[in-house]
């Protein structure tokens, strides 16, 4: 237990260091873009105004509101002070909306789309990869090229293909939105059915890509493990094949679990392609809009959430490894 505590504290220390570095980078990197978000906003809100002095007055007013007229170090400490109070600031582009409100409004859609898609893609992909490694022959020969093809497809291309085939040509599924364009949200089965139907194409456009990648990874790991000395030795000793396979896939799963944790950690970034192609609500397109318009608070806020989630998931996995694979803990606590 003492070894585990040391291992835990060491990991926690590095977690804290990484978090501090990430917060600094989250603040600094967006502001290093060669942009002037105030100019963009002013251009938009003063369209049609004929008095340049009035335009300048509005520019200065925005600069004052957003604090961009302050020195960078001062902006940083205001940012940190607000963060400690749980305030990620006010979006420039969606002023006066708070970053936290923007995230809250979209995050449910993002999680509802991403989490099941990541889990389903991960499970099916790993199952197929393990089966290919174990069964070999025809199944393997068919799975590998199909998986390579699907995982190699750009997400954009696959999403558009699904849209054209199932949405536009066959008209089986709706082409855009989170629910029917002629509905308002309500507690009715028709609305729920509409949500489920609209969910299908964005969901499968993510799942199909994930399956291919996971299957290839799992197949390689499984083949590696199946040829390991302990497998040969176990078989030589007459250990039942079922038992051996269980160990093999448990070992092969370890890097896959790490991959899953990181996928879950980054999912808050949104499924940009699926959201854009299918006009599906979510954070992805919001973040993209924030980046193109140099909306510093929005970019910093969302990247901070992603950072914290990735770090938390990595930390959790490290802790889990310490329990499920003592070799990791032993190696790390030396």
């Amino acid at each position: 237990m003492k070894g585990y505590r040391k291992y835990f504290l060491k990991k926690l220390f590095w977690f804290a260091i990484t978090l501090i570095a990430a917060v600094i980078l989250n603040f600094a990197l967006p502001r290093m873009m060669p942009s002037d978000p105030i100019a963009t906003i002013t251009q938009r809100v003063t369209e049609g105004m004929n008095n340049q002095n009035a335009v300048m007055q509005i520019y200065r007013e925005y600069a004052r509101k957003f604090g961009t007229d302050q020195p960078m170090w001062k902006q940083f400490f205001i940012y940190i002070g607000n963060l400690l109070k749980g305030d990620m600031g006010v979006s420039f582009q969606q002023y006066p909306r708070k970053v936290s409100d923007i995230v809250a409004a979209s995050v449910v859609w993002t999680i509802a789309l991403q989490l099941p898609a990541i889990l389903v893609g991960w499970m099916i992909g790993n199952l197929l990869g393990a089966l290919a490694a174990y069964l070999r022959k025809g199944f393997d020969k068919a799975l590998v090229p199909i998986s390579l093809f699907i995982s190699g497809l750009p997400a954009f291309g696959l999403a558009v293909t699904l849209l054209v085939i199932f949405g536009i040509t066959l008209k089986w599924l709706p082409i855009s939105g989170g629910y029917s364009y002629d509905m308002l949200p309500s507690f009715s089965w028709r609305f729920i059915k509409s949500v489920i139907i609209h969910y299908q194409m964005p969901f499968w456009s993510i799942v199909l890509i994930a399956i291919g990648g996971q299957a290839i990874g799992m197949r390689s790991m499984s083949i590696y493990e199946l040829n390991a000395d302990y497998v040969k030795y176990s078989r030589f000793l007459g250990v039942k094949d079922r038992k051996v396979v269980g160990y093999v896939f448990r070992n092969a799963m370890l890097p896959q679990v790490t991959g899953l944790a990181l996928s879950i950690g980054t999912m808050i970034g949104g499924a940009l392609v699926a959201e854009t192609i299918f006009s599906y609500p979510g954070l992805g397109s919001t973040i993209m809009g924030g980046i193109t318009s140099a909306d510093y608070p929005l970019i910093s806020g969302v990247t901070l959430i992603i950072t914290v989630m990735v770090l938390t998931m990595s930390f959790a996995i490290e802790m889990l490894y310490g329990v499920i694979d003592p070799r990791v803990k032993a190696a790390q606590s030396e």
Partner: protein
């Protein structure tokens, strides 16, 4: 069973996340035969309903320029892009100048009332103006340059007083009607309540989302909005029945927030959108090849009404661009037909149809100058040999034989810049760059993100961008004077954060005199002479050049549910303003169902 529970949970979670803002009880399913769907006006979630707000992002409700969006809030007058006239909305009769030409009197339509039943009075107009000035909104800061005060004479009469110059004349008489037709009216009582709630705090006043704001428009009945759409319900007690003779045809106006043009286009083709304010490339293929019931304002090219002129601006901080020969050579060599084909897919009038000046394609603006006086200056483009001859004559030649011309001993290298993702603009810049190659001037394209683009070109000293795009011109009481000002006015030279005009830093004191004289000139012949001279100077000095004509609002409609949309030459004469802006709102009253 588990699957059903998951589905239910998912739906409930999304339902809760939507947490829409609704004014009243709009049905959960919008009857298709009662709803008019829009695309391309609103991008992203609505932020506010506050007409004093800094950033409402509520374009279906608060938008437009001189032709203001008047379906929810109303203005005193509606601008008609087609004939350049103001039509009364909340006002009754024409605006009347006093004999000294220093103030405008407007009568309020006695029938006008807000959606809460209270009458619209002169006091409401005064309260709106005073709040804009007091809280230093964009309207207040900009408008008070031209309007010194707004006063109520009685409940039905309001006077707009001009800011006067040293000679006792309005500093810009064109600006009074321009401000008046853009002033959205809410009630004085509502303003007073918000004023009290904000306690004098400017940000609190402007940042209030104003969910309960009072309005007088035909769709100020109730509304619903969330992260994905906005729906406006018709106010069946709308006062404007007295004006229009009936209620507008659709019971609901709805706008889905599509992620991009492609999604909006797919919805238009699927019949889920009725009115599309988007650039739909190759629009004619929708009806010619796909057989869809889709149409535009004009049946043949250019399909749309060209009101603005996306232009290539020369940065005169760059020494080689101070050479008129270089500016002119590039401008006359550009293949504008290719721009029209590639960038606008023939949705722009050609420069043979509407020769370049500084004015848009409407009859009113085209009549403003003497065509014969400038016709020798109006190039149509693709004059490669002429361009080469100009450069040779100016001594700008390829002396080292590498295929590129030199200036002061150095190879000329320019860039052509516009924001990334603005595909039609990018296509135009590609054509300009290709032109350079043909005349031996290296021009490379560069597409920064919009935020970077604005940051750079609004700096008056910048030398990063050589040729870059901006739109010149428009429609409203200040045009076409404002087009000349945007293209050449010295008032913008050296101005930081200049988004308003003359971005290339062109200096010509005589042009400034013309710009100062036009608003003060009422004699038509004199006015025409001034406009003609301005066009002559523009086409001679070429501080920038038009690349195409473009509508203020694209107007493409699907007639599978609704029909009788505005068409050029129809009996109604409503402009193609997507049925929402200025006088174009009248088309809402003429819509008919395809299958009643």
């Amino acid at each position: 069973m588990t699957r059903k529970l998951c589905a239910l949970a998912l739906s409930l979670a999304m339902l809760l996340s939507l947490a829409g803002v609704a004014g009243a009880d709009i049905p959960s399913e919008l009857p298709r035969n009662e709803t008019l769907y829009f695309a391309g006006q609103q991008w992203g979630a609505v932020l506010s309903w506050n007409i004093f707000g800094a950033n409402q992002n509520n374009s279906l409700v608060i938008g437009g320029g001189a032709a203001s969006r008047v379906i929810y809030f109303e203005t005193l007058y509606m601008w008609n892009d087609l004939d350049g006239q103001l039509y009364p909305l909340l006002a009754q009769g024409e605006p009347v100048w006093n004999d000294e030409g220093t103030e405008i009197t407007v009568k309020i339509n006695p029938a006008a009332h807000f959606n809460n039943g209270e009458p619209v009075t002169a006091n409401d107009v005064v309260a709106v103006w005073d709040a804009h000035v007091k809280y230093q909104t964009g309207t207040g800061v900009n408008g008070s340059t031209y309007i010194s005060a707004v006063e109520a004479i009685d409940d039905g009469t309001v006077v707009f007083k001009a800011v006067l110059n040293d000679e006792g004349k309005p500093i810009n008489p064109l600006e009074l009607p321009n401000q008046i037709c853009q002033l959205r009216i809410t009630s004085a009582a509502w303003i007073a309540a918000l004023d009290e709630k904000a306690g004098g705090d400017q940000d609190a006043f402007k940042n209030d989302p104003a969910y309960d704001i009072v309005a007088s428009g035909p769709y100020a009945g109730s509304y619903y909005t969330d992260e994905t759409k906005i729906v406006l319900e018709r106010d069946d007690n709308y006062w404007g029945v007295a004006l229009w003779g009936k209620l507008p045809a659709p019971k609901y106006l709805a706008h889905i927030f599509y992620a991009d043009n492609a999604a909006g286009r797919a919805a238009l083709e699927a019949g889920e959108v009725d009115v599309s304010q988007q650039f739909n490339s190759d629009v004619e293929k929708m009806w010619l090849e796909k057989g869809l019931p889709i149409s535009t304002y004009i049946d043949e090219p250019p399909y749309q009404l060209g009101l603005v002129q996306p232009s290539a601006i020369y940065n005169l901080n760059i020494p080689v661009l101070n050479e008129l020969a270089v500016r002119k050579a590039i401008a006359i060599a550009v293949d504008y037909d290719q721009i029209n084909a590639n960038a606008m897919t023939h949705q722009s009038a050609t420069f043979e149809q509407v020769p370049r000046s500084l004015f848009n394609t409407t009859e009113g603006q085209q009549a403003a100058y003497d065509h014969d006086a400038v016709k020798d200056l109006q190039w149509a483009g693709k004059d490669i040999e002429g361009a080469k001859a100009l450069l040779d004559e100016a001594g700008i030649v390829d002396s080292d034989g590498d295929g590129w011309r030199e200036y002061n001993g150095e190879k000329i290298t320019l860039n052509a810049v516009c924001p990334n993702g603005w595909s039609d603009w990018q296509a135009s810049m590609e054509v300009v760059a290709a032109t350079g190659k043909e005349i031996g001037v290296e021009i490379t394209t560069f597409y920064p993100e919009a935020a970077e683009f604005y940051a750079v070109f609004q700096n008056p000293d910048q030398t990063q961008y050589a040729i870059y795009m901006q739109s010149i011109g428009g429609s409203g009481p200040t045009y076409p004077w404002n087009s000349i000002r945007q293209a050449m006015s010295g008032e913008f030279v050296g101005q930081q954060n200049n988004g308003s005009g003359n971005w290339g830093q062109y200096v010509n004191p005589h042009v400034d005199e013309i710009i100062a004289a036009i608003p003060q000139t009422s004699d038509e012949a004199e006015l025409k002479a001034l406009y003609t001279e301005a066009v002559q100077i523009y086409l001679t000095d070429i501080p920038s050049f038009q690349l195409m004509y473009r509508p203020s609002l694209f107007h493409t409609v699907n007639e599978s549910v609704w029909t009788n949309y505005p068409e050029q030459g129809d009996e109604y004469g409503y402009p193609p303003n997507d049925l929402t802006d200025g006088y174009g709102v009248g088309a809402l009253y003429e819509l008919e169902l395809v299958n009643p």
